[in-house]
Symmetry: D2
């Protein structure tokens, strides 16, 4: 399905600085970027970095003088997903797991799965099928965590959120990842443009590695799961940040939008308590 995505971000640069942005729609054999335009005003030369692990596209540039810069990105993207039936799909035990997946089992900066081991097992350890485990823990997050802007900050981690029980999409995603890993289900962070997310913003969700596929889940329930344009994945927000700023740079404002391309027909997809199929961005 085709979407028109757009963002405009302003930064106040105070002295020579380097910025690395991850706002470009991922290009891979499944998601096609039909057209895109990235501009900085005033003009600055940028470099697209070779992707590490195919997880994201990074745009790097230096700002040499103090100035206000405006970045804008506009693209038309054909996203791509499949629905996979997990009703009878067997779990992959650690003894057969591809070593490339191991990093997504380990605790990370915002996802201290080692600390949530007992809690995750007490709450969800009894559920047989891993797809059902993740579906259930996602609903638990949705029910128990309050979406509250301004409550959490850039230091907030899943260890905080599981108890303080409020946050934004980033915090919901971190908690989902953490509970998965504590249950020996590999999981990673997903950022993207998101159709029908209100208020419009970049969105963060999480993917669980189930039966050989990365399946998308969203504890916030704020947007249809099939309206995502993938930007990046990573262990957590530390690896898949929208922007990494080195030097004296102040974020000042941002607009984000994601609209259906003309002529597209959208049927929103959400999980419910009887779901047997997971949605996989390829």
């Amino acid at each position: 399905m085709k979407f028109n995505v757009f963002t405009e971000m302003e930064y106040q640069v105070g002295a020579a600085s380097t910025l690395i942005l991850s706002i470009n729609a991922l290009r891979n054999q499944h998601q096609t970027v039909l057209s895109e335009e990235f501009t900085i005003s005033p003009y600055i030369k940028t470099e697209e970095l070779p992707s590490v692990n195919g997880e994201n596209r990074l745009i790097r540039f230096e700002v040499t003088d103090a100035e206000l810069i405006k970045i804008s990105y506009r693209a038309t993207v054909d996203n791509c997903y499949k629905l996979v039936d997990f009703a009878e799909k067997p779990d992959i035990p650690v003894s057969q797991l591809d070593p490339a997946i191991f990093p997504y089992l380990n605790p990370s900066r915002y996802c201290q799965s080692d600390k949530l081991f007992r809690l995750a097992h007490n709450l969800f350890g009894h559920i047989e099928n891993s797809f059902n485990k993740v579906l259930t823990l996602t609903r638990w997050i949705n029910k128990n965590i309050e979406y509250l802007s301004g409550f959490s900050n850039a230091h907030t981690s899943a260890f905080d959120t599981v108890t303080e029980q409020a946050g934004v999409c980033r915090d919901f995603a971190h908690l989902g990842i953490t509970l998965c890993r504590a249950l020996n289900v590999p999981a990673r962070y997903f950022t993207g443009y998101s159709y029908n997310l209100k208020p419009a913003d970049f969105h963060a969700c999480f993917e669980a590695y189930l039966g050989g596929d990365w399946v998308l889940f969203d504890g916030t329930g704020l947007a249809p799961l099939n309206g995502m344009v993938k930007i990046a994945t990573g262990r957590d927000a530390a690896d898949a940040a929208i922007a990494n700023l080195f030097g004296n740079v102040l974020f000042t404002s941002m607009i984000v939008s994601c609209e259906l391309a003309e002529g597209e027909n959208f049927e929103p997809f959400y999980y419910n308590s009887n779901s047997t199929h997971g949605i996989c961005y390829l």
Copy 2:
């Protein structure tokens, strides 16, 4: 009911130090210390400090030289408790609460009730009667927290325990206190000698302030609630520590025991899911 309590503690003192111990059975109009003997070997002069708020008895002494000291305390105590019917006893709202009780509503070192506010309300906020609230949260602790020696340490707080879900009696008590305060139920830490606690040790429980009485609860379920000889109460373990050590002092060993006095007949009292009566040490 009469109990013989005993403890023997050894400390290796490395240089001039001050120790403040809280191991003496509390004396008040309800708990009678029939006989007691406190000795230090080699002999050191001690001072019993005037109690602050009637919450505990403190023994202070200085050790001027490096040496191994052995403290022993032996007492026969008639404890005293009443059972109070909370089935229809109305809660005391904050608007009518005695200001002397306010400190037990505030968060403290090991009991960050401000951080557990949403969690406590999500889990227990729907329960009408406060006695039932505390009974239910105590059972929740008992079911979800694993009693595990060596898992936690002196820095561990309820914010850790609610997620890591393992600890010792001190951690169970801190979590109980924290959940109560988050629900606007005043609560405090209780230390004592405990009959039939296995393995024998000092015990920590918590008291909730319900309908004008301090009612005893124990998330560990390891000892009968009517076999306690009260030593101290306080906001948390920071205020009611068995020992406060100032200087160069190393704790090396300890024995604790609590036995029924001769001729006494003991019927263990525990709560169950239909309990309507709380146990109050007066």
Copy 3:
């Protein structure tokens, strides 16, 4: 010296709630409240609670309906302080300390002195005189912690601030208290109206118990130490909060001011690196 203090606070009450405010200037034998006026609009009956430990004055009231309430307090107060020479004043060892002071040696919610023990001793343990210790640690705080509005929140504690090194007056005070207690110097939180504080607000500082007096220190350096009108003291902000809200209450706005009364002549007092005298509010 006489000051005119004033505050106006608005709360949006959503349902029946109880508020307990601590905004009235403390009355004691040293600080004289010459006149004061406390009003709520629309009118609500209030109750002044008997002070616990003489540490503060609390105003309690219930709001029964959803409404916007405006509280205003205005007073003229003669504050009182003395300067004490600590150049040669001996420290009071724990072995001679009044037990009523013990609570201010213990760790508390926002002041985890148990965790800062080694850090405090590494940084300040070598300084002989306790007044100099506290003066030095206050300067260290002033030099290393950045005053930054919006960085910290109501959950931030000294354990965070000592590493994250940014915060507001409350965080500076908590860190000062914590370092003192880690060095076996009793310390407590102080809130007040503060002359020449910019921007105008309630202020938080800390008092260290030195040679039998509570001496005032302020890591922020933002206001003269002799322009304070004391409101309350307590172990930390958990005990000496400006407002405790029970129910559905949202803080919406606040104005604070503290001006010299007519005809008064003010010479600002600050410590410097050669200070020998501490300032004590009595």
Copy 4:
């Protein structure tokens, strides 16, 4: 230089479990494993996993029954290092850094560099040359953190250690990594066998990415830097653990040794305050 390394580890397996061990000496173009022998008793079939990023070798095996297993590993290894002069070697700015290095700039589970940003800059930000920065922060760690067995645990992170100031080699390494990253110096965790480490054990150090080389540093100062046989590197101990256990497995005992091979002559290498050369394992 050639070393004979050896370890023997025992695990009590309680039910079907998977173990992934990282105890084999790394094989790469610089470190030559002359001979090695890995055995499990009773016999279990093992699999050596293809290395991800060339960072380590992993041995995976399943234990199907409850039993006590003994693992032993013995190898003769020719390690390899070079000394690099950093006196005038220019730093690589982020604007020219290879994207494959980016993950080592990000905060990770035990290395919350985002939280130590101000502290690192206050302490070390003024030092010009990055090699000197890392040398200085390593000495700061050595001076301020106490090596203390049993103080920290598997959950302890650099955010704890920077304040609590005690721990073991793992904690020293995490703090070094964290301070580097906070200063925009990429850094990673290093585990190995270590000659002359007392008591004998696996050792953890850290590598900083300076002028295009990974340079080894050790805040503990407990072992010569040129006596290491590299096992693995990773972001922190979450990625480079000696053992990852999935299922019901209890670690019961371990022996580790690292001896000079016959005929070798060892001159210990340590940094001092005038060092200009870094040691790089290739």
